[in-house]
Symmetry: C7
Subunit: 72 residues, 7 copies
């Protein structure tokens, strides 16, 4: 794993399953589809961890993201 | 679905039903009418999910948005 | 209704009755008199929805606004 | 009342009694003495509404202001 | 009292006793020694009002300040 | 330890075990892999201190970080 | 004590024991080693006041700092 800047690991996670933790405590697991520098994230095939609800995709506003970690 | 940047998926959702989740926990379902880079959003034919109240339209301030997901 | 950018709908609401929802949960109903890009808003003939208190006008700081919706 | 931009109404309130509502719920009634674009405000002959405490003046940081309304 | 801009009253308070109210509700009374545009403030001979604890000086980060008022 | 600017100590911690404390109270212990000026941080071989859950890596958004301290 | 700008007192505290109070209420006592304009701070020989836990050093993110005061 080659990681020079923190966002490198986000970039390397494209197409992989990650868990995103929001500032309000919600967690979403899904496949990373797109990201930008904030980082705003788009996940596909998403599950909201507490409720078990599923979505085809979700847009997560970077400003409300606390942490990103691998799901596999 | 072609998504290079996170806001692409917002753009592709114009005219479609989405659910917007606010930082304060409120959720609104409606048809996406307009968006900008924050992203501020305008929905039409809106339902506030907890209360069931309905509005012809709603302007949602980007700064208070946490997540956007498809409603269909 | 022609809405290209989210703030268009705010502009089109000048002179009309709207409800503004603040981040702290307070809601104000009144006639939109002025707006800017934040959007800071000025309403006239205002009612605070929970308390029923009335004011000739109110200045609402954009930074604390969560949503704007039609009152009619 | 001629109000094109929201801050016009703040400017027209100089020398008049207003009530300022802070994000933390506190409210101050006093005569508007000075303002800037944030808007930071200075009131004179101030009363804190809940406690009834009085001050010769108060400086209110714009960042923590939620709303401004007339006191008369 | 000549006050054109809100920060003028902070400047005129140098060397005088003021009370600073923080967003988290804490209040500090002390002699204003230095200020900048945020406004970050330095007080001398400080008392924390709730606890009665005293300090030779305190640096208060402007971002967390809600209001400033005279102590005398 | 040569530390001129605060971020120097973050830089000197690369490859070492640190504990990161988030604004929401969560703490993560892991090996610092990457950092930037916010500072966004990437840790490897991470343990979430309260839950004991472990992750191969975690991206922590600088905006939600409160403190960083050594783990050894 | 010569203090023209608020950050002067931070600068003059280098090598001295200070107490830093965070927005979340935590307090850290330690020797100031480095600071910048936010101000991010690095303390050495640190004690977390509530828990009594000790650390060789701590990096405190300026954005979460509320106040700084002398410890001696």
């Amino acid at each position: 794993m080659e990681v020079n800047r923190p966002l490198d690991i986000i970039n390397q996670s494209k197409g992989k399953k990650i868990i995103v933790e929001m500032k309000n405590g919600k967690q979403y697991r899904g496949t990373l589809r797109a990201w930008d520098a904030h980082p705003n994230l788009v996940l596909e095939d998403v599950e909201e961890l507490d409720s078990g609800r599923k979505y085809l995709w979700i847009f997560l506003r970077g400003d409300n993201i606390s942490a990103v970690k691998p799901a596999e």
